[in-house]
Amino acid sequence: MQVNMLVNGVEVSDDIEPRLLLVHFLRENLRLTGTHWGCDTSNCGTCTVWMDGTPVKSCTVLAAMASGSEIMTVEGLATDGELDPVQQGFIEMHGLQCGFCTPGMMLSARWLLDHNPDPNEEQIREAISGQICRCTGYENIVRAVKWAAAHSQKSDTREEVGA
């Protein structure tokens, strides 16, 4: 079947099997491999992307369901090659180790900051609680999001893609 969507601001269309998961569509058909896959049960959140401005677990969405939607993946976080403050925050505060959960974590963090520019620790922990990181013990992810909050300005493009 035919699907069309706007991925990181670029129109894409493809002929796919109806059962294809969005995570596989992004990773294999579009070769956007920054979106990861870590479980079979929608528990880990390494596959998190934005669909029409809301974080979703792309392993739990059929590519067909995303047709007509706007998708943002980690590859769309930077603007004109300039890192989003969330990305910079993860670097500055050592919010990642193996990097596998990181794209999903950053996308949730960006969504949180767009809706709550100055979150407290509890709100940050709540916002990433649907995602698992096996390396960092979350402490430095929380610090990274705080760093980003202190250095954030919403970019125009993201407002268009986002809610």
């Binding site: 956007l32 491999t33 990642l96 096996r134 390396c135 013990g137 979350y138 929380v142």
Partner: protein, 792 residues
Amino acid sequence: MTDVKDKPDGVGFGRVIRKEDARFVRGKGSYIDDIVLPGMLHGAVLRSPYAHAKIISIDTSVAEKHPKVKAVITGALLETLNLAWIPSLSHDVIAVLATDKVRYQGQEVAFVIAEDRYSARDALELIEVDYEVLPAVVDAKRALDPGMVVIRDDIENKKDNYIFDWGSGDEAATEAVFEKADVIVEQDMLYPRVHPAPMETCGAIADMDPISGKLTIYCTTQAPHAHRTLYALVAGLPEHKLRVYSPDIGGGFGNKVGIYPGYVLSVVGSIITKRPVKWVEDRSENLMSTSFARDYHMKGKIASTRDGKILGLRVDVLADHGAFNNTAQPTKFPAGFFHVFSGSYDMEAAYCSVKGVYTNKAPGGVAYACSFRVTEAVYAVERMVDRLALELDMDPADLRMKNLLRPEQFPYTSPTGWEYDSGEYPRALQLAMDIAGYEDLRKEQAEKRANGELMGIGLSFFTETVGAGPKKHMDILGLGMADGCEVRVHPTGKAVVRLSVQTQGQGHETTFAQIVSEVTGIPVADVEVIHGDTDNTPFGLGTYGSRSTPVSGAAAAVASKRIVEKARLIASAMLECSPDDLEWTTGRWQVKGDPSAGKTIAEIALAAHANLELPEGVEGHLDASCVYDPPNLTFPFGAYICVVDVDPGTGKVKVRRFIAVDDCGPRINPMIVEGQVHGGLADGVGMALMESIPFDEDGNCLGGSFMDYLLPTSLECPSWETGETVTPSPHHPLGLKGVGESATVGSPPAVVNAVLDALKPFGVKHADMPLTPAQVWRAMQGRPMRTDLAIQ
């Protein structure tokens, strides 16, 4: 020479952001499943639904007719290649694909290779396997009962499920201590089966070039060189035609040390199809079939005087090794380093025994940040010390303080023969207590108790045993555990360092650059780290057991020191003076008494490549290498304090605070060390409170997905409070000890001790991990359950 003070910015040890992050935050890491090769096929494994069953027949004919299927491999085919069984690292064999029987749920039965991922999975459904189900051995405690079904009837004359008996220490002396002791406390405890569960599962791509005969294996391996040699030894593949390439790895924690059937199947698949074959397991496959950790049933016995001087310790272990003895560990001992179980305490005698048995469960045993059973050892001694404190009605902190090894006892020879390198234990414990505000916490607890609230404070003090290791303790199938490192300074003064070890998130691209920088003065930014590719790195046995810094880090330091020494000779030729007249400042040799006359390492590097007349015996270029054979293990240590609140209505545990003081010697990059400690503490909370893989009476694995095998999220973890002391190791050229596993080893007993401390008003003396609400609730009713069995 390398005692450099006042280093300029960007040189050497200290907080530096990581080089690898630039690609990861952009989603540009390259993990195994991100790699696509031209013409690549996809493999999928058919697994056994039963824990124990005879295979009557396997019919693959329908699957083979699937239009997208290229090949179906069964055990019968592997037998013709002599690859149905391969040796384990523990004097046993494992089945690549089952031929006679399946011996655990999730065991590999057939392998389908198809054009795409989904079709390979579809074709699995088309394979018909006829099984004759056998009774399963689920309870390790009953594995040796007379008449019990024999799991390993593939072994000639095997009539039971026994694997080994092993002991360490002086049993007679230990018993003599128990004879004279005022106080003896005994406690049974289980360190249940847990799984490393890295966020990225295991996988491989095998690519056999049919013309050159060169086989490239891209693989999630923590030990690429060890894998290459094992493929050569086991499959008879010529080692010079084998390249193992470890890309970015999404977490390892020991899960990616061993060689799994899926890797071998990708190789066979590529040889058969003459195309690259990718295999990446899904999460259930990862949890159900790849290396688990622990599964130790321990009987502890501790002796002391009435005033709390510990005299002796004995631990007898029943070890559940699953269906194959496949602990991927390099020690010469079947229980790894379990015999460091006397821990951080001064005592007269200690003895441990370990009995290994087969059960119908997945094999493995040491994976998950454990330093080869040090995790179990630390848990045993730290629980026993707390049990003793309870018996003596003594504060557990006082009891520990009274018995910790004192600084003047180092180097210390333990009752089982380990030589601990260095330590200032009481200082670390005091620091943790100061950070925690220990006295105030105890006061608060007393007030809460008076109100019926359940607050607990738990301590643990651990001594780690890492840096595997000296030849007397270990090897892998006869290979010693020395690691190589090569440092090359290019003509413009920029350096490349090649490592034998492989990062899975530890940040080697940054920390090894810092080691080279620390010694040579070349800025960290100017040092490139190359690793993970056996064609481009020196031989060594890989990253696990916190061995990278102690072994490979030492190799990097020594190679760097050789560079500096060579640079001195070249500088002396450039400056036309004697090498003895030169002194080293960061990155520069200068004439003593005339600092204006000197040559930087970059100037020297250029000269070394140019037409300067070099001193006799000095070759051109500025390279050095080192193969580091560690003289001893290193012994990082730490003091941990956990504070919990338990809901008396539900049994739910909330970790309110966790204080971790770690001593891993000098810190290459404090930011990275702290990050590793945080991660290990989360592991500890997970194991102590949540992670569980029980089995039902038929051997069904009940921890086979993230719905059942619960990992801690941001909400279960508190904001970690860390502290440090620094006691350099005399056995490492830079005094470094390694830290990767410390917190995973040290934290579980602190959490458990805290929960049991909270439950003290109920008279609870012990309950096994994981301390789920159900388990805590049952403990409060006086009947904690066994956590390894789903049916009580």
